[in-house]
Amino acid sequence: MAPAGVVDDSRTQEMQADVAAALEQRRQRRYLVRALLRSPTFVIGVLIVLFWVFMGIFSTAFTQSPLAQHPFAILQSPSAAHWFGTDDLGRDVLARTMAGARTVLIIAPLATLLALLWGGIIGLIAGFYRGITDDIIMRLVDVLLALPVIITSILILSLFGKSLAIVIVVIGALFTPVVSRTIRSAVIGEREREYVMAARLRGERSAFVMAREILPNITQPIIVEGTVRLGYAVFTAATLSFLGFGLGPPSPDWGLTIATERVDLQSAPWTVLFPAFALASLVVGVNLITDGLSSVFSK
């Protein structure tokens, strides 16, 4: 420490460099946000997803009840009273379609977060230590990838029962290998950089280097990987509930509704088409966000 009043030249320069770096970082972040807001792909995707999030939370406040049955108004085609028609139990298809967003929007983000958490830890460790640790972890990952995701999840869900929590954990666990691969390769790209060397030479513990030095520098690939996985998680969650491994009736969940109402497909296609279009719009929305993010990040 230099005595007060005496200007330590090298120290001032260092501080100035730090401030400049921080400003540069903030400028870059602001630039990224502005670029994202100017990307139509990203904005449309966000609007679609926000629409479904809003509907998932609030739709029951202004639609009819998604569960109320009207035995005298079954399988009615779309009309002024029921914009999307009614199903085989006389339930309002509009109300069910809007409320149907809920389950997928609970399962997919939570499963993605779990996969990012587990995959992040595994990827950081494998990429940071390399050597035998890396080899063992990656061989185990290969085995988990030796079966298609949907097959493994059917096997697990049929044996462990089906509940929202189990579906979330299963999807999260099955997405972990892929996430850990991505993060591992991002870590390998960083670990030889000077700032990592510097932190090691300072004598920082490995956990600190991984969490506080490398992790902040690989946020972009993590965010892109997260949105990609989110798209697949929506896909997988909807597929599992379509196959009968999600919630049971009378939930208005889209996949479940399509599976149960498809017997009326020929006489009352609206019971199936509206949830189908809703699901299609949600997956497309998530993927637009992914495309927008990755094209802005790669610039």
């Binding site: 290969d142 085995v143 030796a146 079966l147 298609p148 995701v149 949907i150 097959i151 059917i154 096997l155 697990i156 869900l157 049929s158 044996l159 462990f160 798209g231 896909f235 909807a238 597929t239 379509f242 196959l243 009968g244 491994f245 996949g255 399509i258 599976a259 498809r262 497909l265 020929q266 296609p269 199936v272 088409l273 189908a276 279009f277 699901l279 299609a280 997956v283 497309v284 998530v286 993927n287």
Partner: protein
């Protein structure tokens, strides 16, 4: 070449053993009491004990795995709990149906997506190119059952061009089956079209920039000879590679499409076995699909090697 195939086949063995251990652990060990998980909470303890003894679930773990794996290797797959029929022949019949659907789907998928991709690549950066790329890529993210029900409504219910079911009535000639498989094959195609067409497009664009294409054009070869003789062949390698990497999704898609169309294939059977806790049938379906998955990855690798002389010679 033979060495490459032999080595890859040998590499499959440890993976397969690990997968079988995974299936064994998931199906037979982790649920705890196997008999209880099959019979449900309302069966008496005596019934559970009898079933456990019958299934050999009261012996030590390694012994159970050895017996279990031995039965699979020797083709003694037991009987389905739900159907009462031998698992082996039941699964094999379903597998035949699935392979027919998958093969038919591939026959449609590969030429269509290569044509679409090469066409887009030849008209690079035109409006049509962009329209093809965007529409095919957004199709890949939509679940098969969503595109499936929309296709059924349009082509079967409204236009009456194609049948709603995936199986012809009993006694119809075999050729009829393909007519009934058109509608189930399209959702599978939409799932893959975007990826494959994109690779074919990129391949085409790269090849078109090569000097030998300029030479071919300048020496006066007709356009179709340039496209079929030079462009198509070289755009094929990345395309086949991506088809190989899509096999997992194709199998997942097959399960969903079979369930949607109530098609008697191995995917539909697996879901029914899972819903009814028919553990022997479920295990057999999963293992067969795992082998199928690895074999198709291997076949894709071999085809890539055959198309690429550098890999072929390197063996």
């Amino acid at each position: 070449m033979a060495r490459l195939i032999g080595r890859r086949l040998l590499l499959m063995v440890p993976t397969l053993i690990l997968v079988s251990i995974l299936v064994f652990a998931l199906a037979e060990v982790l649920p705890g009491n196997l008999g209880r998980s099959i019979l449900g909470p309302y069966a008496t303890q005596q019934q559970v004990d009898i079933l456990n003894h019958h299934l050999g679930a009261d012996k030590p773990l390694y012994e159970r795995y050895a017996v279990w794996a031995g039965h699979f290797v020797t083709g003694h797959w037991g009987a389905s709990l739900q159907l009462g029929t031998p698992v082996f022949s039941t699964v094999m019949r379903a597998l035949g149906n699935s392979l027919l659907l998958a093969g038919f789907a591939l026959v449609i998928i590969v030429p269509t997506s290569i044509l679409v991709g090469v066409y887009a690549g030849l008209r690079r950066d035109s409006l049509l190119d962009r329209a093809i790329t965007i529409s095919t890529l957004s199709m890949t993210v939509i679940p098969e059952f969503v595109s499936g029900v929309i296709l059924i409504v349009v082509f079967a219910v409204t236009l009456h061009w194609l049948p709603v079911s995936a199986m012809p009535p009993q006694g119809a000639p075999f050729v009829d089956r393909f007519y009934y498989l058109i509608l189930p094959a399209i959702p599978l195609m939409l799932l893959e079209l975007g990826y494959i067409a994109r690779m074919a497009r990129v391949g085409t664009v790269q090849v078109l920039a090569m000097p030998y294409i300029r030479t071919a054009v300048l020496k006066g070869l007709p356009r179709h000879r340039v496209i079929f003789g030079h462009v198509l062949r070289n755009a094929l390698v990345p395309t086949v590679t991506v088809i190989g990497s899509q096999v997992g999704w194709l199998i997942g898609g097959l399960v969903v499409v079979e369930f949607l169309f109530v098609y008697p294939g191995i995917g539909n059977m697996m879901i029914n076995a899972a819903q009814f806790h028919d553990v022997p049938l479920l295990e057999a379906c999963v293992l067969v699909v795992a082998v199928l998955y690895m074999l198709s990855n291997l076949i894709a690798d071999i085809v890539v090697a055959l198309l690429n002389p550098r890999i072929r010679m390197g063996g």
